[in-house]
């Protein structure tokens, strides 16, 4: 187990260094003027130029620049956004909102997606199964920003069931509609995955053996089938954290939620390069760490992995 862990940890570090290097290189090397890439089309004052050059060490060789940037990322010194605010402050006040939204979305995915998938898988070919297959396919084919804007105009503006934009005075209730939008894609893929997994496990040899030993259907499904079919689902939920983060950028943008995703959305609109690069790098880090955790969880759940 520890060998597996060490190998996986090294891989994650390598991937993180590689991925952030690519992002950094793309940001600063393909643009004609890296300062202008940071600030977009807005004219830069000489003092801003000096400040940005110093912040990103743009007068040093490229690899040194990248080294400083990594050092800043790891030690939490993110520098300032174009707006002048320290990026660390912006992030500190935004995280809680994104975490609340993301957890609520994950909860919806688990409650509706996994439960629905188990039900559909147990009754394969039934009405619910057929309908959910069609509906989830449409959801998978619909970009999240379309789901977001259509839901916002339908459920919030037309029907008035929800507020169309962030209302902190409502507490957690303000996240319900955005969380549904954010969770929609994972819900659809998760439901299909759970369904297939349950349906396949129902036909497995061990189910026949259990039935031959005289176990009740309830026990076979509840203990044997569910336990085995939910292993890939757990992994899926973990890897979806990455998808949820890209989704949060769009969802929080649409519903005006000032979380990490909303800040990134605004950073893009306002052409705030430092904010965008920092948030993207941090999101990559979180994505890789969750993938690592999921792999470890997978190894705990399924002994074949860690021995293999």
């Amino acid at each position: 187990m520890s060998g597996f862990l060490l190998r996986r940890l090294l891989q994650t570090v390598l991937t993180f260094v590689g991925a952030t290097f690519i992002i950094y290189a793309l940001m600063f090397s393909i643009a004609k003027d890296p300062l202008q890439a940071l600030a977009g089309e807005k004219p830069l004052s000489p003092s801003q130029r000096v400040q940005l050059t110093a912040q990103y060490h743009l007068d040093r060789p490229f690899l040194v620049q990248y080294g400083y940037y990594m050092k800043g990322l790891v030690t939490g010194k993110f520098g300032r956004a174009i707006s002048g605010r320290p990026i660390a402050d912006v992030l500190a006040e935004s995280w809680p909102r994104t975490i609340q939204l993301g957890l609520m979305a994950l909860l919806i995915v688990m409650l509706v997606g996994v439960a629905g998938g188990v039900y559909a898988g147990l009754r394969r070919g039934g009405v619910f199964d057929q309908t959910s297959l069609a509906v989830t396919l449409v959801i998978i084919g619909t970009p999240i920003f379309v789901i977001g804007t259509v839901f916002q105009s339908l459920f919030a503006v037309k029907l008035g069931w929800f507020r169309p934009s962030f209302a902190p005075e409502l507490g957690l209730a303000t996240y319900v509609l955005p969380a549904i939008v954010l969770g929609m894609l994972s819900l659809a893929t998760g439901m299909r995955l759970t369904r297939t997994s349950v349906a396949e496990n129902l036909r497995a040899d061990y189910v026949r053996t259990a039935a031959a030993k005289g176990l009740t259907h309830r026990r076979i499904v509840g203990v044997h089938v569910l336990r085995n079919s939910l292993i890939p689902v757990v992994t899926f939920l973990g890897t979806e954290v990455g998808g949820l983060m890209s989704g949060a950028m769009v969802t929080e943008g649409i519903f005006n939620i000032p979380g990490i995703g909303g800040r990134l959305f605004q950073g893009i609109k306002l052409e705030d390069g430092p904010l965008v690069v920092t948030i993207v790098s941090l999101l990559i880090l979180i994505y890789l760490v969750t993938n690592l955790l999921v792999d470890m969880l997978y190894a705990v759940l399924d002994p074949r992995i860690r021995r293999g």
Binding site: Q11, T15, G18, A31, K32, D33, V138, T149, V280
Partner: protein, 292 residues
């Protein structure tokens, strides 16, 4: 042309697949939508008497609901939504096709090399795949498109961003199908006959591992169209072009007053993305002997 005798004759895998596809309504519907969108992209003038690129929009028409001559109504600027939807297809389809070409080229090269040679080549390329998989496509594309946004390069920043970041899943598919093909007897026969590595790869392995690759790329094309619209929605999409994503973003600001300018481009976009995904799915099912 199909006689009773030829129907009884054994069919090849591709023949089998085509036999199944012909009977699959999903394949025909998805195929028709793809064809329609391609026509819209190539000849928008055939579908709309108004050229959305040059048409003058009257603010007095702002957000007017649909009527008999303007089926989709007007947007905030008073432009005909139908014309804009028709002319918006081009940027989506072009971005989809070009990014898929780049992705296809990279993923086939990498998948072929790592699947065929295995060993340290495979190990090295697997690390590269890991690194690129570590970058969520949308986030990476935002950075690339943003860095290039200073210059007026049309659709190319988006094409480059999606093409450069979207290939890892496809490369994995190519690699695994190359590995299955590598151990077949005809490959061994070719090697015994003295064929070079390049010839074996290009003439024997590639054609035999093409089906899953093409399926994957078809589905990716749909995903790229969705991503292009998302990037336009975020404000880093192709510049100075009519695009569904831009129109949806613009319409979203006025949804309290009118929903038509939002729903029509959104519907076209979803139909296109869905058509490519379903087309890919239908072909995959037809080629999968396990589902027979």
């Amino acid at each position: 042309m199909v006689s009773a005798a030829s129907q009884d004759a054994p069919r090849s895998l591709a023949g089998d697949a085509w036999y199944d596809l012909k009977r699959n309504p999903v394949f025909w519907i998805a195929g028709m939508v793809v064809l329609l969108m391609t026509l819209l992209a190539a000849f928008p003038g055939l579908f709309s008497s108004i050229d959305a690129r040059t048409a003058s929009c009257a603010l007095s028409d702002s957000l007017r609901p649909p009527d008999a001559s303007h089926w989709f109504g007007y947007d905030k600027q008073g432009c005909d939504v139908y014309a804009r939807v028709v002319y918006g297809a081009r940027s989506s389809v072009l971005v989809g096709v070009f990014s898929t070409l780049i992705t296809g080229l990279i993923s086939v090269t990498i998948g072929l090399l790592s699947g065929y040679f295995g060993g340290w080549v495979d190990g090295l390329l697997a690390r590269a795949v890991d690194i690129f998989l570590g970058i969520p496509v949308l986030l990476g594309a935002v950075v690339v498109a943003k860095a290039l946004s200073g210059q007026d390069l049309g659709i190319w920043p988006v094409v480059i961003a999606l093409g450069l970041l979207g290939w890892p899943p496809a490369a994995r598919v190519v690699r695994s199908s190359v590995i299955t093909a590598r151990h077949q007897d005809y490959v061994l026969a070719a090697r015994v006959l003295g064929a070079s590595h390049l010839r074996i790869m290009l003439r024997h392995i590639l054609p035999n591992s093409m089906a899953p690759t093409v399926v994957m790329l078809t589905i990716l094309l749909g995903t790229f169209i969705a991503l292009e619209a998302t990037l336009s929605f975020l404000g880093v999409g192709p510049r100075n072009t009519i695009s569904w994503g831009v129109d949806i973003a613009e319409a979203q600001r006025w949804i309290r007053e009118a929903t038509y300018p939002l729903l029509f481009p959104a519907g076209f976009l979803t139909a296109t993305v869905l058509a490519f995904i379903m087309l890919g799915d239908a072909v995959r099912e037809a080629f999968d002997p396990k589902l027979r």
